[in-house]
Amino acid sequence: MIDFILNGKKCTSQLPPQSRLLDVLREEFGLTAPKEGCGEGECGACAVLVDGMLWNSCITPLANVQGKSVLTLEGFRDTEKYKLLEKCFGEAGAVQCGFCTPGMIMAAEALLRKNPHPQEADIREAISGNLCRCTGYNMIIKAIRMAAEKGAGLW
């Protein structure tokens, strides 16, 4: 049995340690924000933060989060930082079909935690593992830059 912190709460998974973290989050804990887009670590739709770092949950064995803290969009969406991102993504038109969005937000959060004043190239790199087929990325990049500019002190 694997113990970890999920969105701030201690929890224990009954699934085998070799299970994909994505399945644990979706099937066992009923979360829906992490999405399966490819199942092989290429698209980032399943991305979550583990101890503050961006991980692809679809290729993470459950064993690897033993004792760690896992954050999904469900555990982030009530924060001030999220609210600012939500506003900026809305203004920039950064969400179309929405399927890549939860992973994209986690990638943005991972970036801003580490680098509150990113340059455009930093943002491109930070979301380079998150595929989006709708927006062509530029509107997402603009949204993250807006959030960084308006979010003085939040990150």
């Binding site: 038109g93 595929l131 927006t135 062509g136």
Partner: protein, 704 residues
């Protein structure tokens, strides 16, 4: 709300942003079964035997024998795709059986344990080998033969294009639930055309309209890939749900999706151009061939659009155009944003560049000599009834990109490892269905329902698949009715509640259905009584057009056209053939823009799909098998492959669109590939005739 173009936050923004939006994969139902497929492993053969393992209790196998009618209705009655192959398999990945049960892993294992015995039959695997046609059209204009006889110069070129995969981030999925008591089938899923799905399920299960209900779930992108294919999955899921007496869910995995779902048709386009002594193209012959794959599906209508843009945006007096869609034993191809036009725009725009070079003119000047204008005839004897703003688009593109100066600079000999180039493309998109389908078959309808609390619900079968339709439709109603946007409601369509407004395809939603929203709103405004429940209806009314005759391929193919110009500037590394984008520009006329940010999103996404198509999105079929079946092997651009695009819209009010709007979704994809390849041609000094123009192709030409 006054200015319709002023951007608003999307109606569904907060739901999607917060991860609360429920997609098909998020749907849970009491007792729901999971499913997997037994699929053909060979390209063509007869099924001799199927050895099914013993199924545990609670597990079912569904085959074509379980259906009332095993054929998927798409367009014609011929060559229709079976829901499940029974005697013969015609491509690798064709569904033979579906197994459903409570444990997905077990279902998958049972599928693997099922053995199918085949007698292999000869397979036709490429477009060049194919002989059987799924569709064939021909048209001519003027007298091409006579013009060729007088030509000062004749140039012949052949262009080829590969597959393109829609690569929507959400894979295909459907959930079906059989209500045995009321003998009613409920289907929920990811789709562009709820009424197509409904009609298919009705036919396949032998149910009437009262007994099939289809509900669109939040849909994670479509790009054409969810136009006809969801009907197939819905029938399979519905058959299983009925047989099992439990809800059945189908959610593909990515590799399965990429192996079996429809893609953009690979093509071969042969051109012969006749030029006179003044460098004018006096005649053009085109022979267009699309690889339909195993079943025709939408190929005939895709082909019609290819033929309609055979001369691009140019006025050429003498034309002879022939087009075929041929059948091969490979995965079926279907709708993808642009629908037959991207292949031909790559070909015609490349041809224009090559002809310009031959006669010693710049690509721009040569194009300007040939551009169509208002009141010119279309290739099929229709008319460009409205102002053609190509000169305005070009002027804007020139101002933004400095194209001509850069073109001249990069035409000078370049030294060193990295060489620059800049490319231009001109294109148009006929808005809505080809021909008279809107009035003959679709007859779309929209209902506005006003509740006692003075909120208004839009009832129609059009869907938001990410393109922003909930927002744009709501804005149209809100502005007409002078209501705040939150007082206009748009729920995901449920065929029990909404009329058929046609599928969400063909850049028709805003122009055709949006117009119905506008008209219904005007009617409602005229009778508005606060606090009272009211309803208004708008049905399609066709503008006056030159009648379309499909057999003769003649008349107005489209009521209106949207126009575009792309410029791509890049740098090529002559050691590796790899490129780096330096700038991308897009100028479009889509009539009035209904929402600046929504439209920008269409432009940004469309341009990148177009550049991806022209550059890196390689998908090949080898021995009947798709070679790139994953996001690891099929390359769509990442955030690091793009640059900040500069995009502008030129206002050109269209009288039959809501607030003056025309079609917008597909247009934006068309120019990326030809502008990209033109830039590579300038950087390398080589001519290319195939996309995707990969580094492999670039370097091979350079090393020669």
């Amino acid at each position: 709300m006054e200015d319709i173009s002023k951007a608003v936050e999307r109606k569904d923004h907060r739901l999607k942003m917060s991860g609360r939006a429920e997609y098909t994969c998020d749907k849970r139902m009491e007792g729901m079964l999971y499913s997997a497929f037994v699929r053909s492993e060979i390209a063509h053969g007869r099924i001799l035997d199927i050895k099914l393992p013993v199924l545990p209790e609670g597990y079912v196998a569904v085959s074509g024998h379980d259906l009332y009618d095993n054929h998927l209705p798409v367009i014609t009655d011929e060559h229709e795709q079976p829901i499940f192959a029974i005697d013969e398999v015609c491509f690798v990945g064709e569904a033979i059986l579906m197994l459903a049960g409570p444990d997905l892993q077990k279902v998958r294992r049972l599928c693997r344990e099922t053995k199918v015995v085949y007698e292999e039959l000869p397979a036709v695997l490429t477009l060049d080998e194919a002989t059987e046609t799924a569709a064939h059209y021909h048209y001519h204009k003027g007298d091409a033969e006579a013009a060729f006889a007088q030509a000062a110069q004749v140039v012949e070129e052949v262009f080829t294009t590969g597959y393109q995969e829609q690569a929507y981030l959400e894979v295909q999925g459907m959930v079906a639930q059989w209500d045995a008591e009321n003998r009613k089938m409920h289907v929920f899923g990811s789709m562009q055309a709820p009424y197509h799905v409904k009609n298919a399920v009705m036919r396949v299960l032998g149910l009437d309209a009262e007994h099939v209900r289809v509900v669109q779930e939040v849909t994670g992108g479509g790009f054409g890939g969810k136009e006809d294919y969801p009907s197939l999955i819905a029938c399979q899921a519905a058959a299983a749900a009925k047989k099992a007496g439990a809800p059945v869910r189908v959610v593909y995995d990515r590799r399965e999706d990429m192996t079996v779902t429809t893609k953009r048709h690979p093509s071969r386009v042969r051109y012969a151009a006749a030029l006179d002594a003044q460098h004018r193209i006096i005649a053009l012959k085109a022979d267009i061939c699309l690889d339909a794959g195993a079943y025709p599906g939408l190929s005939s209508v895709v082909l019609q659009r290819s033929l309609n843009v055979a001369a691009g945006v140019y006025k050429i007096d003498n034309l002879d155009v022939d087009g075929r869609a041929v059948l091969t034993h490979t995965v079926s191809n279907g709708a993808f944003r642009g629908f037959g036009a991207p292949q031909v725009f790559f070909a015609i725009e490349s041809l224009m560049n090559h002809l310009a070079a031959k006669v010693g003119m710049t690509p721009l000047a040569f194009r300007q000599m040939h551009m169509v204008q208002q009141d010119n005839d279309t290739v099929t004897g229709g008319k460009f009834h409205y102002y053609v703003p190509l000169p305005d688009l070009l002027a804007k593109a020139e101002e933004m990109s400095d194209y001509s100066r850069k073109y001249a600079a990069y035409s000078q000999p370049q030294q060193g490892r990295y060489r620059k180039g800049i490319g231009l493309s001109l294109f148009m998109h006929g808005c809505g269905y080809t021909g008279s389908a809107e009035k003959d078959f679709l007859r779309p309808r929209v209902i506005l329902r006003k509740y006692a609390n003075d909120t208004v619900e839009i009832l129609c079968g059009s869907v938001d698949i990410g393109q922003g339709l909930k927002t744009t439709f709501s804005k149209i109603a809100a502005v007409v009715l002078d209501l705040p946007l939150e007082r206009v409601i748009f729920h995901n369509p449920d065929t029990d509640r909404v009329p058929d407004s046609g599928p969400t395809v063909a850049s028709r939603s805003i122009m055709i259905v949006g117009k119905l929203v506008e008209r219904a709103a005007k009617k409602l405004k005229a009778v508005w009584e606060s606090g009272k429940e009211q309803e208004t209806v708008a049905d399609y009314e066709s503008p006056e057009l030159i009648p379309w005759n499909l057999a003769k391929f003649n008349g107005d193919a489209y009521p209106a056209y949207s126009w575009g110009v792309n410029v791509v500037e890049l740098e090529e590394d002559c050691l590796t053939g790899m490129t780096k984008l330096l700038g991308v520009w897009g100028v479009f006329d889509v009539g009035t823009v209904i929402d600046n940010t929504v439209m920008l999103g269409q432009a940004e996404g469309g341009i990148l799909q177009g550049i991806g198509y022209g550059s890196m999105e390689k998908m090949e079929s080898a021995a009947g098998k798709i070679r790139q079946t994953s996001f690891t092997d099929y390359m769509i651009p990442t955030a690091m492959d793009t640059v900040p695009n500069q995009i502008a819209f030129v206002d050109n009010y269209y009288e039959y669109g809501p607030f003056g709007a025309k079609g917008a979704g597909e247009l934006t994809l068309l120019g990326g590939a030809p502008a990209y390849t033109a830039a590579v041609e300038q950087a390398t000094g080589k001519s290319f005739h195939a996309i995707p123009l990969t580094p492999e192709r670039i370097l091979a030409a350079q090393q020669k």
